[in-house]
Symmetry: C2
Subunit: 524 residues, 2 copies
């Protein structure tokens, strides 16, 4: 397709404001055509009106109809996979293979949510029958299920131009729940966003969805984004990005006349603890694993292992191997110049810290837009005394922290909330560190044993969400099928005639879903 | 028991600050002994420390152990039912029978949550097995379940001195989830709070719970409350009370370095719509039903029907009967002088409004601390034009609004969020008002057919929560078993050895709960 550079507002295209932006090739600094025109405030208002108008209709479609829409989106994205693979590397610096893999992950994710909507049991349908003769009071017929919240604003991420972007997990889970979606495109990859947004539109038209079910807005500054969060039509927000961006949206949402939930996935440094016996047994293998996790995608993952805790006595071979790997490590093009500059600034700040040493850094100097692997080292006492050592360095950098197990445990207890915590140990070692495991559980959403935090499986049991500030709302996940619950709320129907009930709550279970009837679960 | 007038801080009693308060008998204005001593800031800090220390232990108890604690609380409360029945009417103006009934509701609620914890399936356990040979990437073993958030602060309500107070629904659901609880007593019924708080303590000691699992704090102003909400140890808040109180807690929680969820149940005017055919068929019976719902408990329920919508043409007999009932209605003692004054002020403000008429008011003049039934009437055009007509009048007052079905539907669409919406109609009528039903669903947490909003069944399918401002978080309920989900978050364990997993996630299902295994639900 030829890129038009304009917002997609329901079935129409925006004309755009005079504020234009271009994608920049991070490897060269070169401007990429076309210019992208920010949405005007009238265009934002139009997208909001369309979404609000679509809600009553879209939210009352059956799960099978919503599933068909999601499958159509996946199919349409597959037809433009080559275009994505061509444009994506120019906009993001990511290799074609990664973009093709991420496209497959995205379509897989859309189909997971399609299956969830089609199967339908996620709504947690509950029926309690009337007991008119109950003493001292009659019991009424009461039936409940989850229903969608309303239109959702989704803020796309820079580091996953597909899986956490226009048709990524937030969009897929909100659409599956029954919520129309307005996406604010990320300025780093407007072209990929337009290709995917146009695919979503085609799917909406082919499956006869109401016009306002999906819009995609471009906007230079924060204006479009804040307008979306403040709009009365919007009932929830999904965001993946920086801590400052996420907390700004949280504050705006809390100040609304009607506060709304914000699901922001923001900042995590993903501590990895190595216990001494496993480190003595296979230090070099563990160093290879850590290095792979640290440098994958030039370290630009929210699950990048940014802190490494160990007792120094048995760590010699591990540290030596890690040093060798890092020194031989190659610089890589980062997603955009802002991320690259922030990475250089964060790592050079850390290098200046008293009592923080550079354990190893890549020998090759970084080229334009590139970041290089670097590993710092300090003591747990220094770490505990300086909160700045917990700042996220978004890129292939980590901080090795050495000290006693007791002090390591205390440091984990005091950490801010994390997406993940990881521990490496023999079975015997792990059986002896209950306090550490309790602290890891308490401070994160996913506890990993003898593995590394990168690699987030899209499935029913994934929790990609943890206590603040890793996410704004640690009661939720932004990856996996449980993500659908973010965009729904329970509603009860009391003494309703069958015709006024959603199919999921009717006698005879026409939807064939799992339900709880008078306290008993089953498919009846 | 003899009342001591001091906070219960773990296993100890507070000494209290110099700030004392007394319960006041609302029927007489008489001060009740003893004086209640507000908790000092040191005592608040001690309760917080104890709760934080209790969390790792209490949260890892089995559901059966937590269930035993909740059942012990119910049993201990039953042993002091006579004391509650003696003290309660003095503090609240509520009749003894109501307090005995509410005591039974409270112990029933505790046992419902005990059963939920003991049965254990509420944790939504999910297991996905590893697929080491999967292409292109191996799949890891991943297991998830809900785990408690941490210590919870509960703010007791004035209008349910038992069921929404010290050992009420918030406390029961938080304890069942695995969270220690610190209750801030309501100043209206300190004696009943102390009787119940002491019962909870005895239960904690008899079942060997960690000391900090429960504390009860008194405090005159908002200091103790705000200190609890701002404390880093507190991870969630439950509140039942006014809109101003609830929104103040929401703002304080949002401003914390680590924002936490606030579950505030605040303000609802519970519209009831009467369709013309049913009104023509049985107007007098419906007037009796409305009058009963309106005046129950002197109208001091969050589900009190504060708005009544109807088309005037067939409403003659209904309105005539309602007028007769209200004029013969008796004044009743309200919960405290602040509520009584607010009621008189709200109803006299409304009476002064241009275009709002008094349809009927009780003939007998209210005595000390009493409120009387009153019904106002206006047109839907006047109602729509004046947002002040939506203000809650906490007491036995309602506003009848007449107009066309189309305008009534538009007025419901534009309402703020409600706990409930109710509709009365014949089956034929209800089948023809899809837009109205969609608006009712969209604006409330419970949609009631041919019934009235008072009467909130404590069961699995109850939703007592709606869009803001009826509650702070319409994704939750404060009544019924789903309330437990407010105090938990999902956590994943990746590649964990069996010994490091909670029992709910182990192979062989030692807990015997419902789980989802590789996408399939079952008890295996």
């Amino acid at each position: 397709m030829s890129l038009l550079g304009t917002s997609i507002i329901g079935a129409s295209r925006g004309n755009g404001s005079k504020v234009t932006t271009h994608a920049i090739n991070p490897a060269t600094g070169e401007k990429l055509e076309p210019a992208y025109l920010g949405a005007t405030s009238e265009e934002v208002a139009r997208a909001l009106e369309l979404a609000a108008a679509a809600f009553p209709k879209y939210s009352r479609l059956s799960g099978k109809e919503r599933g068909a829409f999601l499958r159509a989106i996946a199919g349409e994205i597959e037809t433009v996979a080559d275009e994505i693979a061509a444009r994506g590397p120019l906009e993001t610096g990511l290799p074609e293979a990664r973009l093709r893999g991420e496209t497959a992950r995205t379509t897989g994710q859309l189909r997971l949510f399609a299956a969830l909507a089609e199967e339908g049991s996620w709504v947690d349908a509950r029926i309690e029958h009337a007991q008119p003769d109950r003493q001292p009071l009659a019991k009424v017929d009461l039936r409940s299920m989850l229903r969608p919240l309303g239109p959702v604003a989704v803020f796309a991420a820079s580091n996953f131009p597909l899986a956490f972007s226009v048709a990524g997990g937030d969009t897929a889970s909100a659409l599956a729940a029954g919520c129309p979606v307005i996406v604010k495109a990320h300025s780093s990859h407007p072209g990929v966003s337009e290709i995917v947004g146009a695919a979503v539109r085609r799917a909406a038209e082919k499956t006869g969805m109401p016009e306002g079910v999906f819009s995609l807005l471009y906007g230079g500054g924060r204006d479009v984004g804040i307008a979306l969060v403040e709009a009365p039509q919007i009932k929830a927000v999904g965001f993946t990005g920086s801590r400052s961006g996420g907390t700004a949206l949280m504050a705006a949402a809390a100040k609304r006349p009607e506060p709304i939930p914000v699901y922001a996935e923001m900042s995590s440094i993903n501590p990895v603890v190595f216990l001494p016996e496993i480190l003595a047994q296979k230090g070099e293998v563990l160093a290879e694993g850590l290095f792979g996790s640290l440098t994958m995608g030039v370290g630009q993952f929210c699950t990048n292992p940014g802190l490494v805790f160990l007792e120094e006595n048995s760590a010699g071979p591990f540290l030596a191997k890690l040093k060798t790997l890092v020194e031989a490590g190659a610089p890589g093009v980062m997603l955009n110049s802002a991320i690259c500059e922030a990475y250089h600034s964060a790592t050079s700040d850390l290098a200046k810290k008293k009592d923080v040493a550079v354990l190893a850094k890549a020998a090759a100097a970084p080229g334009q837009g590139q970041g290089s692997p670097v590993v710092f080292q300090t003591s747990v006492d220094t770490f505990t005394a300086d909160p700045e050592l917990c700042a996220e360095m978004f890129g292939p950098a980590t901080l090795v922290i050495t000290g006693s197990l007791e002090k390591i445990t205390a440091a984990i207890v005091d950490l801010e909330g994390q997406l993940t915590t990881s521990i490496h140990g023999t079975d015997t070692e792990i059986a002896q560190v209950d306090d550490l495991l309790a602290a890891m559980e308490n401070r994160s959403g996913r506890v990993i044993f003898n593995g590394f935090p990168t690699g987030v499986e899209v499935c029913h049991s994934m929790v990609h969400g943890g206590p603040f500030p890793s996410t704004s709302d640690g009661r939720s996940t932004s990856v996996g099928s449980m993500a659908i619950h973010r965009f729904a709320r329970p509603i009860s129907w009391q003494s309703a005639p069958q015709s006024a009930l959603p199919a999921e709550l009717r006698d005879g279970n026409p939807s064939g879903i799992w339900r709880m009837i008078d306290g008993q679960r089953g498919q009846g």
